[in-house]
């Protein structure tokens, strides 16, 4: 083990590979900061360049981008309430509320530190537990995934600041949006209205950027204040950092988020997004300051931001040991591995140890680089809030449009983003939370596919689920989560910032 790791650092510590690792981390952070310009697009753009590198160098570069994005995505969530990535949607809630209270620096600082701790924990997990955890992934069949997704969906009970009925309605809308595209079983188009661009479904970029980003701009345009609020950044350097109280409150959420995120991230289908929502729900349930959730509770940033980072690391286990990509980004990484003649699978450790350990070592190093890179810049990022909002709004609009377009080089996606912008605006004015919508949109397709696979295998017999104890366990968990979320609601209502 140590030998392998040393070998990995030996592979990494060449001028070329270290520079590639830093380049990847920097690019990834930038990509995360620019809403819409997702990691998948960036990796696709860089893939042809990476072909000219040796396999290890190429993977180090691409992986650097992958986890760099998980850091960068937080920044816009906190500062502008625009999630750079779907896994940062949750951070918008309390992260942005903290920024409004003047604690943007603390939110960004704790996110960076939490991410570093969680990332390191995740890498240790990948290193020590890959083979046994691969067995868990193998043991998960359609029933288990379907039940896990049900448990994930039941988390909406914790995001129902405006009432469980409204949250359920949003979840249904999210599920519906996830239905658009080809039927996963028969391959026939559904709800595409003859539009070829809809055949592959609705992309997350126009949906998230429209619903969150553009709707935020509409609220801004509508506010009559001549001087829209400018969040006053602290005057001293240390003022950007979390204070003692905030540290104390964040420690446990970071630890829980790291563990939860890692195990949820292992399983393809929900990954980092599910991990962040789950961690938020857990923290909301366990906190001693329930009244602060939705108004800038640091636990609501520390937990989910740690969870999505260790989830990012966890996703490497099915990728490296089974060749199963957990999401669009790891799918591209898989392609990159194959291009370079690296065959992911149970044999990778024996066949190409230099690639395996090189990637692990680069993950340690990349995480460290990201921390060093991010902390000093927190102050700079926070200063962005001083830019008059009318200029900022124009820039955001432009970046959102370019980002949306760049995903599929498709004008239709930009139109969709605008449409979702107005829909999101109307929903938020109506007091609906958009978190459940995004969660359901992300989990819905996996739920549908798994459930239908399970029923096909069982020849339509729903009672077959009793032969799957893991699945039954998740269903019980789903019921408990719903119940616990409902009980919480009987306490004094928490008013969530509706963006207005």
């Amino acid at each position: 083990m140590m030998e392998g790791l040393l070998q990995g650092f030996g592979v990494l510590m060449t001028v070329q590979n270290v520079s590639l690792c830093i380049l990847g981390a920097v690019l990834g952070t930038l990509v995360g900061v620019l809403p819409g310009l997702g990691p998948a697009t960036t990796i696709a753009l860089l893939l042809p360049i990476s072909l000219k590198l040796d396999p290890t160098g190429a993977i180090i570069l691409l992986a650097g981008i992958y986890y760099g994005v998980a850091y960068g995505g937080t920044i816009t969530s906190v500062l502008m309430r625009i999630p750079g990535e779907a896994s940062s949607v949750v951070t918008c809630i309390d992260g942005h509320a903290m920024a409004k209270r003047g604690r943007a620096g603390a939110a960004l600082g704790i996110a960076a530190i939490g991410s570093f701790i969680a990332g390191t924990f995740g890498i240790l997990g990948v290193m020590l537990l890959s083979p046994p955890l691969a067995e868990i992934v193998i043991a998960f069949g359609p029933w288990e995934y379907a039940a896990l997704m049900m448990a994930g969906l039941s988390l909406i009970a914790f995001f129902a600041a405006s009432g469980i009925a409204k949250a359920a309605l949003m979840a249904f809308l999210g599920l519906f949006l996830g239905l658009v595209g080809l039927d996963p079983i028969s391959g026939t188009p559904r709800f595409t209205f003859g539009v070829p661009a809809l055949v592959d479904g609705i992309n997350i970029a126009p949906l998230a950027l429209g619903m969150f980003g553009l709707s935020e701009l509409l609220f801004l345009a509508l506010s009559k204040d001549a001087k829209p609020e400018i969040l006053r950044p602290p005057s001293t350097l240390l003022g950007f950092m979390p204070n003692r109280e905030e540290w104390k409150r964040s420690a446990a959420p970071i630890a829980r988020g790291s563990v939860l995120g890692f195990f949820v991230g292992l399983l393809p289908g929900g990954g980092a997004v599910l991990a962040s929502f789950l961690s938020y729900a857990v923290e909301k349930r366990l906190t001693r300051h329930p009244d602060e959730f939705g108004r800038g509770a640091i636990e609501g940033v520390a937990g989910p931001e740690s969870a999505n980072n260790s989830g990012t690391a966890g996703a490497f286990i099915p990728l490296l040991t089974l060749g199963i990509p957990a999401n669009a980004v790891t799918a591209l990484l898989l392609g990159a591995l194959l291009v370079h003649g690296v065959q992911p699978g149970p044999m990778i450790l024996e066949r190409q140890p230099e690639v395996y350990w090189g990637v692990i070592a680069s993950m340690y190093f990349g995480n460290f680089i990201l921390l060093v890179l991010n902390l000093p810049f927190v102050g700079l990022f926070v200063r962005a809030l001083e830019v008059p909002r009318r200029y900022m709004a124009t820039a955001i609009l432009l970046v959102c449009a370019i980002g949306t377009w760049s995903v599929g080089l498709n004008h239709f996606d930009v139109l969709m983003a605008v449409l979702f912008g107005f829909v999101g605006f109307a929903l938020r004015r109506g007091g609906f939370d958009l978190g459940p919508l995004i969660l359901a949109y992300v989990l819905g397709p996996t739920l549908e596919r798994s459930l239908r696979q399970a029923l096909l295998i069982a020849d339509g017999d729903l009672t077959e689920v009793v032969n799957h104890p893991i699945a039954l366990g998740f269903l019980v968990a789903a019921a408990l989560i719903l119940l616990s979320g409902m009980l919480m609601r009987s306490r004094p209502a928490v008013v969530q910032d509706g963006g207005s």
Binding site: A44, L47, P48, L51, K52, L53, D54, V137, I138, A139, F140, G141, P142, L182, P184, I185, S186, G187, T188, P189, G194, P196, A197, V199, D200, P268, L322, G323, I324, P325, A331, L332, L334, G335, A336, L338, V339, H340, G341, Q343, P344, G345, P346, M347, I348, G408, L409, N410, R449, Q453, L456, I457, D459
Partner: protein
């Protein structure tokens, strides 16, 4: 590593070829050529096309640019190609999926007559695998079991699943298709015992087979797998079933004949290059060099055959 050398060599060849082009201005092609690829960068189709294009650049003497026009299950790039200016500067890579399968399932504004066929380059390999410690050790065992009862198998979609449908149709077996999103997930479902068999391609199956957890029972492509030369094809085992899927190059129909001839020749020669075989192998393909007519005939036969199979399986659009 080899691949890097190819790319470097190509770059060099392009540089060398550039001045000679200025000398004889009448020669075509005189500027870069674009190939539309229907799938994302880094996938099997993309990488294979890049490998062939790198070879073809040497013959044509102009750079070839690869544009990944992803979408519509591989139809978006063909829609764009059918409408492209037919001057020989916009070409497409084409596989059975977009040309011979998708038109049966989706409403697309092109048909087989929208294109001119340049050449065939590669053939995909397929195989049937089961869990290594499971009850089946030969294809005959699996076949007998499927005669007696319903056997579930995982696959990503057409054409991977069509071989099993064809067995059902010809021999009355009861193989039951369970769709999975990716090849690796389909293979993992077998390892976990969630389905009983899989019909997939080498890149996902080989790691599972080599680690001793999966057994390859038969190759369902026209050729055996290079890694497992002892495993016979379905046809060799006495079952008249094979999955034929090809990768080749096409152009808009109205492209001038002399340019088509130049391109066809260049791409056919590129597919013959020895360096290509190694590149294709990583993605579970073997070279299948064909001229334009042969490739067109294969695609048209595939279109008819897949149409029939998809209709019988209830997967074709009504």
């Amino acid at each position: 590593m080899k691949r890097r050398h190819i790319l470097l060599a190509t770059g060099g060849a392009t540089l060398l070829a550039a001045p000679s082009l200025h000398a004889q201005g009448a020669r075509w092609p005189d500027r870069e050529i674009t190939i539309l690829v229907p799938f994302g960068a880094g996938g099997s189709t993309d990488v294979s096309v890049r490998a062939v294009a790198a070879e073809a650049e040497k013959t044509l003497g102009v750079p070839i640019q690869i544009v990944n026009r992803v979408g519509g299950q591989g139809t978006a790039s063909l829609i764009q190609l059918a409408q492209a200016r037919p001057d020989g500067h916009t070409l497409g890579s084409a596989a059975m999926s977009g040309l011979a399968i998708a038109p049966h399932m989706l409403d697309v504004p092109y048909n087989l007559d929208s294109f001119a066929y340049l050449s065939g380059a590669a053939r995909f390999l397929y195989g049937i695998g089961v869990k290594a410690d499971g009850p089946y050790s030969t294809i005959q065992d699996l076949f007998n079991a499927a005669k007696a009862r319903r056997i579930t198998f995982s696959a990503t979609g057409p054409p991977n699943n069509l071989g099993m449908f064809e067995l059902n149709r010809k021999y009355g077996t009861r193989f039951h298709f369970i769709p999975f999103q990716s090849g690796a997930e389909a293979v993992t479902a077998v390892l976990g015992g969630h389905v009983e068999a899989t019909s997939q391609t080498p890149p996902e199956m080989i790691p599972a087979i080599q680690s001793g957890r999966m057994k390859l029972l038969a190759a369902s492509s026209p050729a055996r797998w290079k890694e497992f030369p002892d495993v016979a094809t379905l046809r060799e085992s006495g079952f008249d079933v094979t999955i034929e899927s090809l990768l080749g190059f096409i152009a808009p129909r109205a492209t001038p004949a002399d340019r088509l001839a130049t391109l066809s020749d260049a791409f056919r020669r590129a597919a013959e290059a020895p360096a290509l075989e190694a590149a294709l192998e990583r993605f579970g393909m073997v070279p299948a060099v064909m001229d334009g007519q042969t490739f067109e005939r294969a695609i048209r036969e595939g279109h008819a055959r897949f149409g029939e199979q998809l209709r019988e399986a209830g997967l074709a659009r009504r």
